[in-house]
Symmetry: C2
Subunit: 382 residues, 2 copies
């Protein structure tokens, strides 16, 4: 099996073929709460957080044990454990350690790329709307910042992005968040591949796959098959989503070794912790936890879909752990009213101000959300 086939087949097909996902599902209580190492409420005011695309299950039991065990090394610089994790990731993707580097979340990997590639007047081309960190990181640099609206499918409009590169006639940086945040939509991987295939090395592709593990769609696969063949492709991944480690700040980049060496000049030394690396090592092959997270996400999504259908509110097909859905009325009012009910549901993502990005909690948590939005409808609010 070639790498891309392996990767696509990898976790999901492997689980599906053994029936692990459904077996786990059957074994769980309706709420799946026995798996929660997390608590929904982070603040004294008890707010339920459905706004940050976090995994409501918490970290896996194995990761929890690994963290506790690693506390004995909390006073030691984390190089040796980082090295172990890099080796494990390299082996997993059939790459060499020189192709892998860690960051405090994949956001630090994105930042290094934005910094390393910066040049006066260089186009940085992103979709609108998309994940805000890349646009944020470019601010102090003299890029020419170009936004291209998503197309009718809410996919990246790669043709228009290509036009922008060609029009500029100079080295360019293209950011493709796939699946895209905040829309949850995918850009067909064949289209991404076609552009990378045709593009000269002067076009650099940053492919953000933060939600990769959550996608189950035949038109989608990873871009990582390119990284040992091309110097102009970076793939970023994170432990924040499927592995429930958003608070542990660890992600990674996969790229050609020359590219990794170049970007690492912008790395903060030792930015990932002993405990994060230990949790990542314990999580990486935990297929049971991955299956559990996927099942929880599907169940939560079903509650939201059913509720939105009932209320006749449209939504984008979600390939992630959040759903972009229509609202009626003013978005800021909508968000404020949920907050009054103790639920944090999102923030504005211009220009999609008729939509709210709702992060998926557990099934029970989404039932609470559903009751609340139904009560809003009863009051004529949405």
């Amino acid at each position: 099996m070639d790498r891309r086939g392996f990767l696509k087949a990898g976790t999901f097909a492997g689980i599906a073929s053994t029936g692990a996902a459904s077996r786990l599902s059957a074994a769980a209580s309706p709420s799946g709460l026995e798996w929660l190492s997390s608590r929904p409420n982070l603040r004294a005011d008890g707010t339920l957080r459905l706004s940050a695309n976090e995994n409501p299950l918490g970290i896996s039991p194995g990761a929890r044990e690994a963290v506790i065990e690693a506390i004995t090394d909390a006073n030691r610089y984390p190089g040796f454990r980082q090295k172990e994790l890099i080796s494990r990731l390299a082996a997993r993707y059939d790459l060499r350690p020189e192709n892998v580097y860690l960051g405090a979340g994949s956001t630090e990997i994105l930042q290094m790329a934005v910094q390393a590639l910066a040049a006066s007047g260089r186009p940085l081309i992103v979709a609108e709307p998309t994940f805000e960190d890349v646009p944020g990181y470019r601010r102090p640099f003299p890029y020419r910042f170009v936004t291209v609206p998503l197309d009718f499918r809410y996919a990246h409009d790669l043709e228009r992005m290509r036009d922008e590169v060609e029009k500029s006639n100079r080295p360019s940086v293209v950011y493709i968040c796939n699946p895209n945040n905040p829309t949850g939509s995918i850009t067909p991987s064949a289209e991404v591949d076609a552009w990378i295939h045709d593009a000269p090395e002067s076009v650099f592709f940053i492919i953000d796959e933060a939600y990769y593990e959550l996608v189950d769609d035949a038109s989608y696969w990873s871009a990582l098959g390119w990284v040992d063949r091309r110097r102009n492709v970076l793939v970023t991944r994170t432990f924040s989503k499927i592995f429930g480690m958003a608070g542990l700040r660890i992600g990674y980049g996969l790229a050609h070794e020359d590219t990794v060496a170049r970007f690492k000049e912008f790395q903060s030394n030792n930015s990932t912790t002993q405990l994060s690396a230990a949790a990542a090592l314990a999580s990486l092959d935990d297929e049971e936890f991955v299956a559990r997270s996927l099942e929880s996400n599907r169940a939560a999504r079903a509650v939201v879909h059913q509720t939105l259908d009932e209320l006749r509110l449209g939504y984008l097909p979600s390939h992630t752990n959040f759903i972009m859905h229509e609202i009626q009325g003013d978005l800021r009012d909508y968000i404020a009213r949920f907050r009054e009910q103790g639920i944090s549901v999102g923030r504005p993502f211009p220009p999609m101000l008729g939509y709210n990005r709702l992060s998926l909690g557990t099934e029970d948590e989404m039932e609470r959300w559903a009751e609340t939005i139904r009560s809003f409808r009863a009051r004529g609010w949405t």
Copy 2:
């Protein structure tokens, strides 16, 4: 008491006046090992690490508990806990939250400053030898890099550094690591203050106080009294040293609010973890652990001094948790021979190649080091 007086008096004077340090010392076993949450050996080969300026006691018992408790939030982005820590630090230093920002170790704070201040041909003036991270971070930027040898006291040669600023006749960046790594020596704070007092805002001072809490010398105090009065002073601190949290990657910067806002443009979003912030919050006011760490460090230093005196090897007065001492013969041979004995003792810090930087472990660990170096002397090696 004014801020500077308070800060200087702070931890040490407070402890000394209640007799806490000596009481704790008396209560401890000779080795102090009952406090160890750490293990000396990170690798399967059992190497004793006396090379990375870590606190051999591990993190405090309170920090350990806080980490375990915070695992329930490991799936949540850490903003709320970071905010709490920033508030606590601001209150501690009689500053406002706008004057405080966090990094994945103080090294990330240093990196942001180096990046934010970069300009073509701008002098970046550092001592030689000094902490390597600032020189490292400047590499991709078009600074004019200027090194100025330490003076006869192993203090920063501030007169020569001032000359370099004046000669260049342009905005400059000055890095003062105080106490200095790898020499363990201090630069008298009155001299630093005098320069800051005289300097125009076009001279930016990065004052690295990673080892601040370990100093007990009347000529030394923090530079943080400047940060709310001048836009051109940054003070960096870390939880890696006295608090034993090198593996948890958390430090902070203190500066004028305009400066903080400017430097934060280069910050990686959410780079510190839930668990690190929890450990920091639990450690900050733990005077007992600080006193224990200082006492352990003093005892370990005494073993090293006695041994070096016995072997008639010179050393620099140490104000930190490491000692820069003379060796005889080739430094690389010396380091390799220790490694053969299972002890990692340092690395070369040019141009001081007749010296080794020895990090202080526990008293027992330093006895093992002492026996080893004595055996080398018996073989005529050093």
